[in-house]
Amino acid sequence: MTSWSLVLILIWLGAFVAGQLFFKRAMEVSRAAGFRTRRTILILGIGILMMTISFLLNLGLLQRFDLSYLYPFQGASVIIITLLAAIVLKERLTPRLIIGTLFITAGVVLVSMSYHRP
């Protein structure tokens, strides 16, 4: 993997994580203020923009790597999204949820590492 492809993978992941947080926030706002409010549509729009960036980068990366290698990188976002949901969105985390999330993340990292030792 070149450093250029690593940069693209990081942007892909960052846009994906941000998109998920904006989506959840938009749904929270829609519950409180209604779906067709300017605020809901603005937050949802930013989420969709983030996801579009992430989607296009995903396509470019898919042309160079096996899906079963590339895709689980997205799984590394599990722990990031769970922690940010607690910090930014004030969701309640239990120790069990954190442990389960760490298992999923570890599994995903192992899946990614195995690419280098076929």
């Binding site: 996801m51 396509l59 899906l67 389960g100 298992f103 076929p118």
Partner: protein, 134 residues
Amino acid sequence: MPERPSGFANPWFQFVLNIVGVVIYELLLKAGAAATADPTNKWSWIGITALVSPLTWLAIGVIIVDLVIWLYILKYIPLSIAFPLSRAVDVLVPISCWLILREAISPLRWCGIALVIIGLAIVAKPAAQLEERL
């Protein structure tokens, strides 16, 4: 927490639909990308070249439907529970690649898949507790 709809509108039923949708569109995207792969084209890095494949557009259709379902799920389920559980696709996608696209899975990768399954089982408990509160 809003009252949980039942039947087809049940967020957990929609959750299963969402995961099936992700597996389908990932396979379609890979098939579309592989059919149009041209590493010599500098634009291919941002994925534009894959857009000439009808498979890619079919995938985009599935993604849009899946996005609507996902937003619906997020209305009822916290992101810190819904997102880790949605990683069931990290098990289903490599296994589907192995079965359908004939991509190889190493023993180490199988171990990773097993860890993800254990993690999902652990996260399923808080999800069940959430269900009790709904």
